[in-house]
Amino acid sequence: MLIFEQGQPGRRSMAEAPGGSSAPLDFPAHLMRRQLPRFPEVSELQVVRHYTNLSRKNFSIDTQFYPLGSCTMKYNPRGAHRAASLPGFLNRHPLMAETNSQGYLTCLFELQEILAEVTGMAGVSLTPMAGAQGEFAGIAMIRAYHQSRQDHGRTEILVPAAAHGTNPATAVMCGYTVREIPVKADGDVDLDALKLAVGPQTAGLMMTNPSTCGVFDRAIAEIAQTIHQAGGLLYYDGANLNAILGKVKPGAMGFDVLHLNLHKTFATPHGGGGPGAGPVAVASRLLPYLPTPIVMKSKDFYRWSTEHDFPHSIGRLSAFMGNAGVLLRAYYYARVLGRAGLLRVAEYATLNANYLMQRLVDLGFTLAYPTRRASHEFIISLSPQLKQYGVNAMDFAKRLLDYGFHAPTTYFPLLVPECWLIEPTETESLEQLELFVAALEGILKEAAEDATLLKTAPHTLPVRRLDDVKAARELDVKWSYGEEKTRST
């Protein structure tokens, strides 16, 4: 039942009203609203009960194993949440005087330093509000770099076929055309194709390493050389940084610019779709172009950068300076983990992925890249199951929900048919992995014995399989008043 269906005209959650006297407004009549918007009219208990119960219809890290590949659904420390929620941070206006903000600015400054160190880059800007905005900032910096050198012929960004959708979309937002580079059967980028593709039109290459194929591209040095020799720059999509944190620095691989998804690698909560934070880090030649503001330190005083500090900046990306609350959580996380802890992230994420991969192989599942080590994630293809039982990757995924596990990422990357991208993360225990294996064993058996069970799954969730086609065809994207009386669901 929607919150709109629980209202009654005149009902209010009265304690929430500001109270006090309200003289009539003195606005010009033609600028005043004539009729209040039609909102739910509900009591405080109704609101609390409604949204509490709605929340119970979600899967989440706190309640389920959530091996969603490429999304790094690791435990989100509650301590980070508390620290970021301290009144001094939570009630701080973004434009508060620097003299009253030294504690806050210190955290951000130190976070910049930590991110520079783990990425092996020369400078960091924290302002991008998610991975995709980081990508935008990065490609905009590549663009600014070429322009500053009057190198105007570079109109193309190269992107491996396995890339995340945000990569090509970003390149286009930055005014580039996109050329896809094929990926070989072993998951590495097709170097020959890359060499053929590069040229004076190449502004840069965007890639993740390890890639969304779940493997580390062994030829990264040669790829970097190829791009650099052609005059292009290398962009690193940091969504997979969890796989190599502390182990390999993107800077060492030859990348010129990158973003980090703090809501993945640095364990900040995803919030059912956000917020995130996508700081960018750059090699020294791109320093002048960093998006602003950045926290500067002068003689123990922390301050925001001004236009004088970064006259060539690509500019500002948010009204203030990004998702501060996410940054504070990431800072807390980095401090608690410290040097050794950050390194362990990659080690145990990789251990969990490889172990789980092995166990699924034992069950008879088909790996997309059977000759390779898994990074922090790996891909199985359910094509054999589709052929044998007529049950596809989505059917398997939906049935897995019935077992109380969130599904892996399905049908991405696009190049693997009936694809499952599985990322257990380092915070899950061996027992949890085994429970997942047992569930898949069960489902495999069900597929053989009763395929319909999978094709009509899920069966135990608040709703069964939803009709996406109807959703798109008969667009219903908001409540209409008047519906109360006619509906019966």
């Binding site: 003195d26 706190d62 620290a83 434009l95 959708g165 998702n323």
Partner: protein, 455 residues
């Protein structure tokens, strides 16, 4: 190991299943020369130490009496809002790709879309963009896509749109060759309509109308909308959602309403939090929906015909359309939107209107009180909403500095953004300020001015 559950015997078991001796062997496909040296980062600390550290850091900005607005507004947030929103099931879920396991998030956003369209009187809302500034930038891109048949891609941008919003628009639209043409403001702080009347609109595709504008001043939205529509321009409304509880909504501007309406959602239950996470909202006319960026939630039915919610019109999005998507946005500001939905449900339309009214009255009360200080007065003489440009007898920066030492955040110095506003302070007052707070402000301001004059 913080957050990592592996015991030594777990590791031994797992390695032996992999027929390996060390975890490092799992990285053997990575060329050894790429392996990092030890990180130059301090050793880890306990939750207790980290909490203490952060608590000490937070104290420096605690207990400030805040009169800053300028796009981020201190409204009271009922406790129920974040108590519910920070439940693990909301906070630690991902984007609702598996609809059946995400009905909580999906229905909440559907309800959010319903409320935002009610508030703006627009047809369609998306599920959020990053913040008000990036929402405006996306609106410009969207407007250009919608006007593809028109030649040129210039957007009329009033000077009194938030300066940071204008900067963000510059950053984001520049690469696509879109121009922002600045419009001057008149002596009342509004868009100069006589200037508009003479404007050559060759190559122009849209007009941005802020309501209220950066100065807190109300624009003549009906006349401006009709002016733009008469010339085939799209109207992009940039609005404060709290103000919309009392002001005519963009969907009802002029003869036919704004085409796109965007804004900063923060006033709807999201804490100031140093600038984020907030959320940008975006709404539009139904005919433009396929050019809209960002996620949209639709209602549908399941196999049994039971109501359910799912991501819809995904063909606009990067994960399906890749380089042909309407935007690159993926992660948005879901949790802040969840908070806004709970907030709007709790306050109701009447409650929001009362907050808006109370804020406005407090602001007018402050203006009255402050005007007794010689040389202090409201700079613009038009109707405004809960924010005012105060003209001072001295430089704003010195006053701000002095008052900050007394833990009063006095306002925003306008000089860096508007060189012509040399001694001007942008001050915001919301419903959170009691009469004693206003008196304190006035007293300390008077003191500050005296001191600065004396220097």
């Amino acid at each position: 190991m913080p957050y990592i559950p592996h015991t030594e015997s777990d590791v031994a078991h797992m390695l032996s299943a992999l027929k390996l001796d060390t975890i490092d062997q799992l990285f053997d496909e990575i060329p050894p020369d790429l392996w990092a040296e030890k990180l130059e980062i301090a050793e880890g600390i306990s939750e207790m130490s980290a909490t203490r550290l952060m608590t000490e850091r937070a104290v420096t900005s605690d207990r400030q009496l805040n009169f800053l607005g300028a796009g981020a507004y201190e409204h009271f947030i009922p406790a129920a809002v974040w108590d519910v929103v920070t439940r693990g099931e909301f906070m630690t879920a991902y984007t609702p790709y598996q609809a059946e396991a995400s009905q909580g998030t999906l229905q909440t956003i559907y309800e959010y879309q319903s409320m935002i369209t009610q508030l703006t009187a627009m047809d369609i809302s998306n599920a959020s963009l990053y913040d008000g500034a990036s929402a405006l930038a996306e609106a410009l891109l969207m407007a250009v896509r919608c006007q593809k048949k028109k030649s040129g891609q210039t957007i009329l941008m009033p000077m009194q749109v938030h300066p940071f919003y204008r900067q963000v628009c510059e950053t984001i639209v520049a690469a696509q060759g879109i121009q922002l043409q600045l419009l001057p403001y008149d002596e009342g702080g509004q868009i100069d309509q006589t200037y508009l009347a003479q404007l050559n609109i060759e190559g122009v595709v849209a007009l941005v109308i802020p309501q209220p504008n950066f100065f807190g001043v109300l624009e003549e939205v009906h006349a401006l909308t009709d002016w733009a529509h008469a010339r085939g321009l799209l109207v992009i409304a940039q609005v404060n959602p709290m103000a919309l509880a009392v002001l005519v909504p963009p969907g009802q501007w002029g003869q036919s309403g704004a085409d796109i309406a965007v804004g900063e959602g923060q006033p709807m239950g999201v804490p100031l939090a140093s600038g984020g996470p907030y959320f940008g909202f975006m709404t539009c006319r139904e005919s433009l929906v396929r050019q809209m960026p960002g996620r949209i939630i639709g209602r549908t039915v399941d196999l049994d015909g039971k109501e359910g919610f799912t991501l819809t019109l995904q063909a606009r999005e990067q994960h399906i359309r890749r380089s042909k998507a309407t935007s690159n946005i993926c992660t948005n500001q879901g949790l802040a939107v969840t908070a806004a939905t709970v907030f709007m449900s709790l306050l109701g339309a009447q409650g929001l209107a009362e907050v808006a009214q109370q804020s406005h009255q407090n602001c007018e009360a402050l203006i009255k009180k402050v005007s007794v200080i010689p040389g202090v007065k409201a700079h613009f003489n038009r109707a405004r909403f809960h924010e005012v440009v105060l003209q001072l007898p001295v430089a704003a920066a010195s006053v701000i500095h002095f008052m900050a030492k007394q833990n009063i955040q006095a306002g925003v110095d306008l000089q860096p953004f508007y060189p012509e506003l040399t001694q001007h302070l942008l001050v915001c007052v919301t419903e959170t300020k009691a009469s004693a707070d206003l008196s304190r402000y006035v007293d300390v301001l008077a003191e500050a001015i005296k001191l600065v004059v004396a220097v």
